[in-house]
Every structure is written in C-alpha cells, then in structure tokens.
Symmetry: C2
Subunit: 574 residues, 2 copies
C-alpha cells in the first residue's frame, strides 16, 4: 500500500475535506432537528409556512454539501486506502449517504417534496370526510414517484451487496406518529412488505399460509426489487427477501397466541378510571426519565400533540410526551418509549459528534431501544415494584393498588382496529398488514383504488376485525401520505431486536431483575451503551445485535418473551 | 429604455436568481433566529457547543448564498434597468448586503468570529475577577480586526454616498443586553463615538463644550472614517460627521436637566416594595401584549435571563421577558420594550417576507419602536389610567395606589453607574460616554489600556459618578467583548426617532390620549404600521421618519418631550 499511496496526491487533503463536510452535515442536521422540534412544541400557529421554507432552505444546503463534487472526489481518493477501521467505517457510511442523495435527480427530489406536502393535505381532507377517494389520486402519485426514486437508487443497492452502515442522511428524530406538519426529508423513505399476490385470505383458522396471504415465498431470495431501495433508506441492508419470511413466521405463531389471549378473562383495570391531574402526571414522567438515567443537562422533555424524540446532538436531546387526565398510563409509556430513544441519542459517543458515525445505523435498531425501555423494562413486574410507590405519591388514588394488579393492567391484550392503540402482542399484526399492502402497491400487484378492500380483507384475516370506516382503516396512519412507504417494518424489527438484546442482557448482567426492582437501571443502561449506543454507525444494525447477543435478526427471543410473559399473566398455555 | 433592454439578455433570469437568493437568505436568517431564541430559552446546558456549530454552519451557508458569483452577476444585470420602484429598492438593499459580505476576506471573517468568542470568554473571566487587564488583550485584538474590517468596507461606503437601505444581513433580532452565548454575525458591527482627543472634562458646569469633550467638531464633515464603516452595518448611511454634533447638542441640554432633577425630591415608590408573585406578574405581561395588539397567533413570549426579541418571520415573532418578584416594574417595562420590537416585526408587510425589503432599515429605527412603546406610551399617564386597574387585579397590593403616584414612581430619575439601570433621562449620557470612547479607540487616539481611566473621567463628567470597580465601569456591557463597536449609538437614535414619531402621531391621530386612556392602542399601532413597519427597507431610517413626520433626525422632539414631562412630574422649570 505505501508505494501506491506515494503515487497519489496526499490523502490528508481528502480526509480534511470529508471531516469538514461531515461536521457541516451534522451541524445542519442538528439545526433541522431543532426546527422540527419547535414546530411541534412552541411555534405559533401562523409560523408554519415560514417554517417549511426554513427547513427547505437548510435541507437544500445539506443536500448541496452532501452531493458536492468535492466530497465525491475526496471519497474516491480516501477509499483507496482506509486502513484505519474508524476511517473506513466513516467513508463507507458517508459513501452510502452521498450515493443515496446524489443518485436522485433534483427534479425528482422537488416533485417528491411537493407530492408529500399535497399528500398530507389530501390525507387530512380525506380523514375529515372519511372518504379514501379524496386521498387516492395523491397516493397514486406518491407511489409512482417513490417507484421512480427506487429505480434511481438501485445501483446503490447493487454496489452495496456488502454491508451497509446507515440510513440516508436525515434528521436523527424518531416520531412515533409523525405529525402532519413534520418536515419531510428528501432522502429515501422505503418499506418492505410481503407480496399480496395471492388473494388475501378470508378465513379465521390460524396458520402462516392463511394469515399472511403467503408473503415471502414469492420473493426470489436474491433479486433486488423497488421496495428494497426504499427500505434501504430506513434499514440499510435489509431486503424483502429477508424480511418477508421473517414476518410470515412471526404472524404464524402470533395469530393463535392472540386468539388464545382473547378468550381468556380480561385483567381488571378499573382503578385506572377517573381523572388524574395533569401536573402530577407530568412530575412523574420527569421522575421516570431520572430513573432511566436520561441526563437533564443534555436534553429536556416538553409536551406535544404527538410524542416524538429528536437528537440534535448527544448533548442536546429533545423528548416530548402528552398527557390525558383520564388515561394515566398514556403519558407513562409515552415517556418511557421516547426516553428509550433519548438514551440511545445521549449514549452516542461524544467523540463521534462531528462524524457520520455518531448516529444509529437504522430506524429498526433505534426503535428497539424505545420498545426495550417501554415494554421489556417498563411493562415488567420488577420495574413497577420500584416505581409504583413513587407513582402513588403523585397519584394518591393508586396508593392501595397491589403491584401485581397494576402490572396486569399495564399488559392488557386486546385486538383493535387502530395501530397506535395496540398492545405489544397484537402490534406486529398491524405492521404485517401494512407491509403486505405497501409491497403489493410497489410491485404493481395492487392498485391504489383497491386498497380499502384489500385492507378490510387482510385486517379481518390478521386481526379478526374489519374497519368500520376508512378513517379507522386505510386512512389511520400518516406515513403513506408523507410518502413513507417502507417505514412500517422497522417498528417490528425494533420489537424483535429489543427482545433479543434484552434476553442477552438478562444472561449477562447478574441480578438484573433485582437491580430493576430497586429502581437501579444503571447496569442495563451501561450494558446497552457499550454494546449498542456507542457503536454508532460502525456496524449495521444486525451486526451490532449479533455482536452483543450472539444472535442476528430472529423472532425467537420475541416469541419466547411474549409466550412466557403473557402465558403467566393470563394463566394460559401458549 | 425599451431599446436598451432589448439588446441585453433577458432580465427575467437575473431577477429570478435574485428572488430565489433573497427567499433563501430570509429562510436561513429565520432559522438562525430560532437557534438563537432556543439558546436563551430552552436549550439544555450542555447543548451550547453543538449550538455554536449549528449556527456557524447556517451562517456559512448564508454567507455563501449572499456572496455567490451568480448573485453578483445577476445584480449587475438587474441594476441596468430597475424601473419598478420595489425592484429598485430590493436591488439596492441586496447590493448593500452583498457588498458588505463580499468585501471582507474569509480569513478575516473567521478571525473575527474566533476573536469574538474569545473576547466573550475573557470578558466573563475579567468580570468575575473584576480585572480589566484580563480582558484588555482580547479587546485590543478585536479593535484591530474591526479596524481591518472597516478598511475592507470603505469602498462600499464611498460607492454609497447615495442613500443606503439597511443593515448588513444578519438575524432580525434585538437583544437589549446581548447574552454572552448569543450568536455573533460575521457582518459589520461598528460604532460612532466622538474623539477623546481633548482631555476629558472634569468640571461639572453644564454646556456642550465641557460635557462631551468636544466631539464632532473634530471630525471633518465629509471625510469617511473607519468608525463609519462599522456604524454603517447597524445604521446604514449614518456617519460620525452627522452623529457626533447631534450627540454633542443632546448632551449639552441633557446634563443640566439631570442636575435639576437630581436636586428635586424623589417620587415615592414605597408601594412597589415587597414581593409580587411571579405567576401574577407573568399573566399581566401577557395582558400587556394583548393590549399592545401583539398577535399571539404569530408570536409568543417566553422567559430568559436577558430579555430580547427575534423575528423569524412576520408570522413568527419571539419575545422574552424576565421577572423579579421584588421589582414588579421590571417585567412590565421589559415586556413593553420587547413588545414594541415585536409589533415592528409583525407589522412588516407579509408580501415582503421572501424579500430583502421585509426588514427594518436600521437598528436605530427598530429601537425607536421599543422605546416608543416602553417609554412614550408605557410610561405615560393615559396608559396607566387604562392599565393600573388591570395590574391591580393581578397584584392586589397595588389596588389602592392612585394612578398619579404610580405614574410618578414609574418615572423616577436617578444617576446610576450602570446603563441598564438607567431611566429615560439619564440613559443617553451612558451612550455618549461609550460613543466617545469607542470612536477614540478606532481612531487610535485612545489605547485599550487607557480605557478604564478614560471611562472614569468621562463618567464623572457626564454622569457625575465614577465607577467603583471595573465590573460596574468599563466591563459592564458585553458589546465590546462581542466586537460590537458602533452599536451603542443606535440606542440613542432610537430614543430620538421615537420622540419625533410620537410627536407626529399626537398631531395626526385625533384623540390619541383619550384612546390610550381607554386601553385602545389600535389607532397608534395602525399609524405606525402604515408609516413605519410596512415600509420595510424601501427607504432608509431617516427618510421613513421624515416622510412620516416632516422631520429628519433631530433631538428637538426628544428635548421637548423630556422637558415637558419631567418638568411637570418634578415641578421644576427645565
């Protein structure tokens, strides 16, 4: 290598160009995050139009920096000899971001931004009128443009049959329910869902063949398709050929579990009825963040209509929650969920803050941390042994409630039509439904106008419920209106990674349950920080999980977790 | 003209380039404002370093857009035929901003930013140690760099002996006391102060010759100097040759007025002693903003250590205030002051929001509106006839106070060492002091190490008080530490313009006093909106005031206002 290096211009120049570009990109991304955060928290109502322009201007500057010929040229030079592993990882990640940004023609970027804005407007109108046809033409346009974008991105996927190290450059934020006003990146947003080629099943008998309409088997394992190119923007390296069989298997054992739990008696939750003062709930959510170990010197919580989290920087992480006085569990689990995202962001290595490595490698892995802290920790018995007395100090009406009863009430399982109301058992069925349909749309196997019927049929098959209206069916989520085709599966990937990581933490951390029952979450947080958060984009999501646990992407730990926990809670053999 | 136009390339291309550049500049400026606002309101403590990087990255993008060769070329082409008056004004304003940004070499821009950051750090240390010498080397460096910047900007001033239309591109914000963390623009910041050539006067006898050490007379009226180039960044078109004699005249009649008022009995303010709950004060400040007509749909008020206002856009204006439970007047006048800035920002024409015209033409004119609403309106008897009953509802301890007594207490005059504690009578003496000294520094007539002694001597001459320590003397303001040489005089220009505008409003608006006494401020706000706010940068500050009032820059209205008001309040012939 040294001889070759001597023949080239000095690499230091290339490296300095890349380092300076990365620092600029991170700083501009941080600014985008702040503008988005403010938009959902403090911005006065009439500020929306100007905010859109401010975001567009910064994103244009970001795009310009990322796609500049100087960066391309420096990448070419630096790639020739990146023996330092960190530099190699940076170059790989920056190359990925650069290629995804540079491959999409500017006209298409603009058309997508326009179609997304119009999509959200039409979606709002359609919901208000409860009429899918109001939204359908806009969705058709979005599907067509996203397919066009996917075509442009194909060469990136073919090049990177090697491992990828991260989602396209965009704000580091995690919105549980992206708000309508939320700024949309111009980068890739793509989803992977199994084919809906075979007619959706109607019967209620369990079994993978019925439940998913046969996804996965239809996708040739090694052929890259349009959906892959979109998915790659959220979950780098993930492919339909991998995801579809996994979801098929998951649905296969999940549907009968839900059916058995549905027949068992409901846990009592009457003590959660009534009114619980907002201020007391708010104080408790701040206490929860302190228990989690969220650093208030490097972040804050505010209120918003839709809870979300945004990492401007490891030293400045913004969370939001919302409070309903008649649903005391809502703010609690919303805070734990966003708090999990927040721990990830605060746990990124400070030394990576000016580098492309200082970010999570995928949306799914990020989501694994919200799910882990919300569900695996936050809906566990030891956690409430530590926290229920503190909650009862803020909400004295809960003072007499036994911890077992509270734990059962926090883990009620119930089929619902609406994804955001779903418990952790039924949740992934909502995702499977969306994955199937959006994959079929992108493959041209399903037309937009057929979507409501297909939704109804598949909802019945997976969840045993048909929507009563478009608003609680195909119009319930904002994702497609924003052009976010390919995003939904990352929610399920998050659930699966969370279970695998937590199972390993239980094996590796002696006395974890006892520590949690004492309110001591530091051992778990330290383990996750070391194994996951600090790694940043040095590895892809699955590699991080495998190195931490010995297991790659699998539904085995999730299956064991759900069956053990809910079997015991409901007294049912699962 | 048509024949010439036909021979040139189509101007539409040039115009589109300029329109798109202006829209980008405005959007990026709005983003800068939000980052600054958040920095002083909600940013977690450890976020400061990343915030600095975010601001620098956006400001670099702003600078790049503004100085791009495409913009320069489009300006050249568009200037050849700008028959539409609005387009002509836009081209003039954009040319001004472009020239000021493009003339300063990038290395100097970086050196200034660095020196400003180090200046603020050293200033903080020096204050903590009460030792000017800790700060002196940094200030020397800042003065040298600012002089170098002024040299680079000279050609712009020479070119624009014609009228100028606005301060250099920077955030639209107005900070009363720029906070240490406040982002610093890389544009010009310059001050005009009379020469300290003749030894500072010691005696106490009134008269212009003594009081100012003879400013103005020394500056050849038509010669441009370094200070002018800095001043031009805050108050376009203003020159030392114009400002120095004006301040000399002002000081000449002001010093004897202060002396007479100092000898009169103090108004009673004992009813303002004690504790006034913060929440009640806060509610009243919001009520005040409503009375002013500040639109809460297009802005908001928050709390910060140093009150300030920032206009992201006419539809999104951020104000802050601060509350002291033992000083109930503090929040009231801080809110009225920032509210005045806010009315200006909200009153800019919505149609100008993507244009360089949608901004105030100078810092002085902006300040005129904070002073007008805070002092001319907010410290008047009619205003408190309307508002004291409302205040007493929030602060019941004030329920029995007669409005005359409250009015007198709100207009106490007292010499103080610290500018921010000064009343409206003594305030401009603090400005004259700073103007003299910073002008002498830039002219090389005063060395930085001589500054504390010169401050002491001139403070004694102007205010009859010497500082007891550096901290309440030469180290009291952050401005110089930020490199803001040339800013201070805009405060006095604001006071003068405010008086002239208000005198005209009283002449033109029938029953103005009666309306105010009814709490109806709409007639005044409408008049100012039409005459001042909506004009934006179409005219320079003095032209706007002259067109509105028939008077240009003068201290005559201010003199009449102060002498009439305080003569009556104190029962003294002034």
């Amino acid at each position: 290598m040294p001889d070759r290096a001597a023949a080239r211009p000095p690499r230091d120049g290339a490296w300095e160009t890349l380092a300076s570009a990365m620092a600029d990109l991170r700083a501009l991304q941080g600014a985008v995050c702040l503008l988005q955060w403010d938009q959902e928290t403090y911005m006065p109502p009439r500020g929306a139009e100007a905010r859109g322009e401010q975001l567009a201007a910064i994103q244009a500057a970001l795009h310009e920096r990322l796609t500049s010929p100087r960066v391309a040229e420096a990448l070419d030079r630096a790639e020739q000899d990146a023996s330092d592993p960190d530099r190699a990882a940076m170059i790989r990640a920056l190359r990925f971001d650069h290629e995804r940004a540079a491959r999409v023609p500017p006209d298409l970027v603009r058309a997508l931004a326009q179609a997304q804005a119009e999509g959200v407007d039409a979606w709002k109108d359609a919901r208000a009128q409860n009429a899918f046809q109001v939204f359908a033409p806009r969705l058709e346009r979005l599907v067509a443009l996203r397919r066009e974008q996917a075509d442009a991105l194909m060469p990136v996927l073919e090049r990177s049959s090697r491992r990828q190290v991260s989602p396209a450059v965009r704000a580091q934020g995690q919105a549980d329910e992206p708000a309508p006003e939320r700024a949309r990146g111009t980068g890739g947003a793509g989803f992977i869902a199994p084919p809906a080629r075979s007619p959706p099943g109607q019967a209620n008998e369990p079994g993978p063949e019925r439940a998913t309409g046969g996804p996965g088997g239809a996708a040739p394992p090694s052929k890259i398709e349009a959906y892959d190119a979109l998915l790659d923007g959220y979950e780098p390296g993930m492919r339909v050929a991998r995801l579809a069989p996994l979801l098929e298997h998951l649905v296969g054992w999940l549907v009968p579990v839900v059916e058995k739990l549905e027949r068992a008696p409901r846990p009592d939750a009457s003590f959660l009825e009534g009114t619980f003062p907002a201020e007391a709930q708010w104080r408790f959510t701040l206490e929860l963040l302190a228990i989690l170990g969220f650093d208030p010197g490097a972040g804050r919580q505010d209120r918003s209509v839709h809870p979300f989290s945004l990492g401007l920087d490891p030293s400045d992480v913004r969370l939001t929650t919302r409070i309903f006085e008649d649903q005391p569990l809502s703010a609690i689990f919303s805070t734990l969920h966003e708090g999990g995202h927040g721990l990830y962001e605060q746990g990124l290595a400070a030394a990576d803050r000016r580098s492309v490595l200082g970010a999570a490698p995928s949306m799914g892995l990020h989501e694994s941390q919200s799910r882990l802290w919300e569900n695996l920790v936050g809906r566990s018995l030891p956690f409430w042994r530590a926290c229920l007395p503190r909650l009862a100090r803020e909400l004295p009406r809960l003072a007499g409630v036994p911890v077992d009863s509270f734990h059962r009430a926090a883990n009620r399982v119930e089929r619902s039509r609406v994804r955001v109301d779903a418990d952790e058992v039924t949740y992934n069925l909502h995702i499977a439904l969306r994955f199937e349909l959006e994959l079929a749309l992108l493959r041209g196997e399903l037309r937009v106008r057929e979507l409501p019927d297909a939704w109804s049929a598949r909802s019945e098959a997976l969840l045993g419920l048909r929507p009563e209206t478009d608003a609680d069916g195909v119009l319930q989520d904002i994702h497609w209106a924003q052009g976010d085709l390919g995003y939904f599966p990352t929610y399920t990937l998050g659930n699966l990674y969370a279970a695998t990581l937590y199972a390993a933490a239980e094996r590796e951390i002696a006395g974890l349950g006892e520590a949690i029952a004492q309110g001591d979450l530091a051992p778990l947080r330290r383990w996750l920080t070391e194994k996951v958060y600090r790694v940043g984009r040095r590895k892809d999501a699955e590699e991080i999980v495998r190195d931490a646990t010995g297991e790659g992407l699998t539904d085995r730990d999730f299956e064991r977790y759900l069956k053990t926990k809910y079997g015991a809670l409901y007294g049912v053999a699962l």
